[in-house]
Subunit: 161 residues, 2 copies
Amino acid sequence: MIELSTEQLEIIQKMSVFQVRAGMPPTEARILALLLVSDRTELTFDEIRETLSTSKSAVSTALNTLVLRNKVESITIPGDRKRYFKHQLKNWNANAKDGLEKLLSVNQLLKEILAVRTSETEDFNRDMRNVIAFIDFMQVELVQVFEKWNNLQNKENKENN
Amino acid sequence: MIELSTEQLEIIQKMSVFQVRAGMPPTEARILALLLVSDRTELTFDEIRETLSTSKSAVSTALNTLVLRNKVESITIPGDRKRYFKHQLKNWNANAKDGLEKLLSVNQLLKEILAVRTSETEDFNRDMRNVIAFIDFMQVELVQVFEKWNNLQNKENKENN
DNA sequence: AGTTTGGTTCTTTTAATTCAGAACCAAAAG
DNA sequence: CTTTTGGTTCTGAATTAAAAGAACCAAACT
């Protein structure tokens, strides 16, 4: 059982509300938030269960999907039977990229729609071509933004060697 | 009642599945998709209801939230009591920006968490500062990308005058 | 004034998520 | 080989979200 300050509890609350609004199931959200605020960054299954006072089944399924989605990593220490769970901060970047790309993939469908549309509605079709062009543009630009970030990181690393 | 080809029906299906996965309620998603594929771009309440064969109440609430969220505009033609509903393609850009900004607003919470974290876990905290820096970076870059797009649009408009 | 049209709002029903509790299971320990 | 540990999996049960149906209402038409 992890001891948490009032502040820590409040943040878990706020953070999980935020994530639930974004579509994440409550238990997953609370586990992620706990792993972000907890003083120890690697918690066992039972520590999580006790601290959040939920059932084993809920924790089990939530952790498994979190691991599957690369939000959490599970660590095993040799000679210790329990698994330890840790927030995958390192993957935030990549997850964000994947998420954005999924959002932008709607463009495929928009192009299909445009191909099927009557040519009678020229104004509407122009607007649609414009949306499509915008999303294509975003796709290219986002790749560049991610590259730019990676370059900045590499530079920083070199400087610190 | 709007007549739809098999192709149009299939696209409505695919598009609404896509949007529902992204968290949109089914009726809203199907209305939006219908307004994208339909040969007429402005449909009445009853045309939508009949074509999607759902209840008045479902259509009413869905349309109202879509209008509220600037996804659909409602047009009234003088001398015609019905309202006509049209997909707000023009707002796609702005809606995308709002959506992204909401996503990035998680950074506020991450900063709060970092402020409360123990200093014992230096590796973890560094990763967290890195995520925060990344989101801050994205925020700045996204604004620039949107500006760049607007500039491109303005240029094009001038050229076409 | 009465009726029809074009919806809205409230209540009920249905369906889908989410969680808990118990049974279960494999690996390790005794 | 029996027991304990560290979970997983399989039912329900409870909550929540979505849709239907019916009652309602205001504006326009007769």
